[in-house]
Amino acid sequence: MDDFYRDYILDHYKNPRNFGTLEPHDLEHHDVNPLCGDELGVHLVVDEEGTITDLRFHGQGCAISQASASIASEELIGMKADQAAALGAAWVIDLLGIDISPTRRKCALLSLKVMRGATTGDASWPE
C-alpha cells in the first residue's frame, strides 16, 4: 500500500461521504484554492441548539482535498457549530493521518477553510 495514497484516502476520494448539496440549508460557503483552482463549497443545517445536524460538501479537487472534506464531514455532523468554527489545522491534518508536505497543505485545509467561512464568515486559512 502507498504511504500517502492510503486505502482509506483513496476510498474517500473515490466515494466521498456527505457530498452534494442541501436545500434548504442554514449556512453555506464556497471557496477556491487560487494556487490550483480547486474549489469546494459546503451547505450546513444547524438546529436550535446550534448542533450541525446535516452537512454536504461539493466541488472538485485532488485526492487530498476531497478525502479531507469527506473524512471531516463524518466528524462534523453532530458537532456544535461554534465548536466546529474553532477547529484548527492540526485537527484535520490528524484526521487525514498522513504526512502532508508544505505543497499539499492547502489541499488538506480547504475543507476546514470553507467550514470556517460558513460558521464564522471569516474564511481565512486555518493555522
Binding site: 494556487l35 490550483c36 483552482g37 480547486d38 479537487g61 485526492a63 487530498i64
Partner: protein, 406 residues
C-alpha cells in the same frame, strides 16, 4: 521502444540536470546552461558597476556588457536595438504598453480584443486598462482543436471599435502556434494596434519581430534559458517615440526641472531606475547559446519530442491530451488529464520519480473554463529534454494509475 536519438544532445550543458531530474516544466521556467551562469558570475566577479553614468573605465565596461547584450538580444529576434526595451518580465512589458500606449490611445467605447487562450498576464493588464478608460474587453474563442479562427477575428475587427489586438504567439497550455503575422496584418488593416505575447515562442521557435510586423512583441528571459528578472519589449519606433514613459525615475530622463522633465531617448525612456544589469548580461549569453544551436534546430528538436510524447501518452488508458493534433501548429507543450486522477496527484506521483511536471490552471483560468476542465497536468520541453525524459514520464503516469488502483 524505438531508440531514435533526439536531434540535440546538450543535457550536459545544464548543471542542475546533473541532479537527475526529468525536468518537464520549461513552459514555467527553463533551466540555465553553464554559459549563462558563468556570464552572470563573471559580471559580478569582474565587471560590476552601475551603467550609463560612471566616468571610470569599470563603469564603461559594465555599460558595454549590458548594451552589448541588448544588441545581441535585439538581433536574435530581428528587432531594432533602440526599440528593444528591457523590462522585469513579459508581464511588466504588457503593463508598460497597457499604460503608456493605452492611456493615450484608448477611449470610452473602444475595444481591446484578446483570446480565451491568453495567460493571465495578457488578460489582467487589459482588464485594468479597459476599466480605467471605459473601454470594452472582448475575447476570441478557441476551437475544440485549440485553434483561433481568423474569420472570427475579421468579424470582431469589422465593427471598427477594436483599437488593440493582443494575442499569445504560442499558448502555454495548448501549445498552439498562432498565425501572429496574419493577425497583426489584419489588425493594422482595421486600424488597430497589436501586441504579441511571445513568452512561449522565443524560447522554441525562430522568431523575427520585423517579419511578424506587430506593433509590440513581448517576451521573457527566464523561459529562454536566461535568468529571471528580465523581459523584453520589442516595439515599433513611431509608437514608442510618441508614448509617454511608464515608470518615472533615474536613467529615463534627459533633464529634470522642478515641475517637469524631458525624456531620454529610446530605449532608456522606458527603463527607469538601475537596470537589471547582470540579468541583461545573462540573457545575452542565453541568446548566444540558442543562436549557436540554431533556432531551426531547437524547433525541430521540440517538434520531434512533442510528437513522441503524444504518441507515448496515447498508450496510457484514460489519458486525454489537449491542443492541436497537427505538429505544424503546435509547440513543445502537452497538457493532459488522466481519468480518475486529479492533476495534482499526477504531479505528486511524478515528483517521486524525479519527473517535474506542472498541474493546475497554468494561469489561464478563462481557457480552463472554456475547455470545461478545472485543471490539467502539463509537460513542456526544451533543448535539454530527450525521449528518455518522456519515457520516465510515461512510467510515472503508469505508476499513478497503479497507486490509484485504476
Amino acid at each position: 521502444m524505438t531508440q531514435v536519438a533526439s536531434p540535440l544532445d546538450v543535457r550536459a550543458d545544464f548543471p542542475l540536470l546533473g541532479r537527475g531530474f526529468a525536468y518537464l516544466d520549461s513552459a514555467a521556467t527553463s533551466q540555465k546552461p553553464e554559459e549563462v551562469i558563468a556570464a552572470i558570475d563573471s559580471y559580478y566577479r569582474r565587471s560590476n558597476a552601475n551603467i550609463h553614468r560612471g566616468v571610470y573605465a569599470l563603469a564603461q565596461e559594465a555599460t558595454d556588457l549590458f548594451e552589448g547584450a541588448r544588441e545581441r538580444v535585439a538581433a536574435f529576434v530581428g528587432g531594432e536595438t533602440a526599440c528593444t526595451i528591457f523590462t522585469r518580465n513579459a508581464t511588466e512589458a504588457i503593463n508598460l504598453v497597457a499604460y503608456a500606449w493605452g492611456g493615450e490611445h484608448l477611449r470610452e467605447g473602444d475595444e481591446v480584443l484578446i483570446t480565451h487562450m491568453e495567460h493571465h498576464s495578457n488578460i489582467v493588464p487589459w482588464q485594468l486598462l479597459c476599466r480605467r478608460q471605459g473601454a470594452k474587453l472582448r475575447y476570441l474563442h478557441v476551437s475544440g482543436d485549440g485553434r483561433l479562427s481568423l474569420d472570427e477575428l475579421d468579424e470582431a475587427l469589422s465593427g471598427g471599435r477594436v483599437k488593440m489586438v493582443a494575442v499569445a504567439h504560442v499558448s502555454n497550455v495548448l501549445g498552439t502556434i498562432n498565425p501572429v503575422a496574419e493577425i497583426a496584418a489584419r489588425a493594422r488593416a482595421a486600424g488597430a494596434a497589436s501586441l504579441i505575447d511571445g513568452s512561449q515562442a522565443v524560447p522554441q521557435l525562430p522568431v523575427n519581430v520585423s517579419e511578424i510586423g506587430a506593433d509590440f512583441y513581448v517576451w521573457t528571459g527566464h523561459k529562454a534559458l536566461g535568468p529571471t528578472g528580465i523581459g523584453v519589449l520589442n516595439g515599433r519606433r513611431e509608437l514608442l517615440e510618441s508614448m509617454p514613459p511608464f515608470l518615472g525615475g533615474g536613467d529615463m530622463i534627459a533633464t529634470v526641472g522642478f515641475d517637469s522633465s524631458t525624456w531620454n531617448e529610446l530605449p532608456w525612456k522606458f527603463e527607469a531606475g538601475t537596470s537589471p544589469i547582470a540579468e541583461g548580461v545573462g540573457l545575452g549569453a542565453a541568446v548566444d547559446y540558442l543562436a549557436a544551436i540554431g533556432m531551426e534546430a531547437v524547433r525541430a528538436h521540440e517538434r520531434e519530442l512533442t510528437g513522441y510524447t503524444l504518441e507515448r501518452l496515447a498508450e496510457i488508458e484514460g489519458l486525454r491530451t489537449f491542443g492541436p493534433s497537427d505538429l505544424d501548429h503546435r509547440g513543445g507543450v502537452v497538457s493532459f488529464e488522466v481519468e480518475g486522477i486529479h492533476p495534482h496527484d499526477l504531479a505528486e506521483i511524478c515528483d517521486r520519480e524525479g519527473v517535474c511536471i506542472r498541474a493546475g490552471h497554468h494561469c489561464a483560468q478563462p481557457l480552463m473554463r472554456e475547455m470545461g476542465i478545472p485543471a490539467t497536468a502539463r509537460a513542456s520541453f526544451h533543448v535539454y529534454n530527450s525521449r528518455a525524459d518522456v519515457d520516465r514520464l510515461v512510467h510515472a503516469l503508469q505508476t499513478a494509475r497503479e497507486v490509484f488502483e485504476l
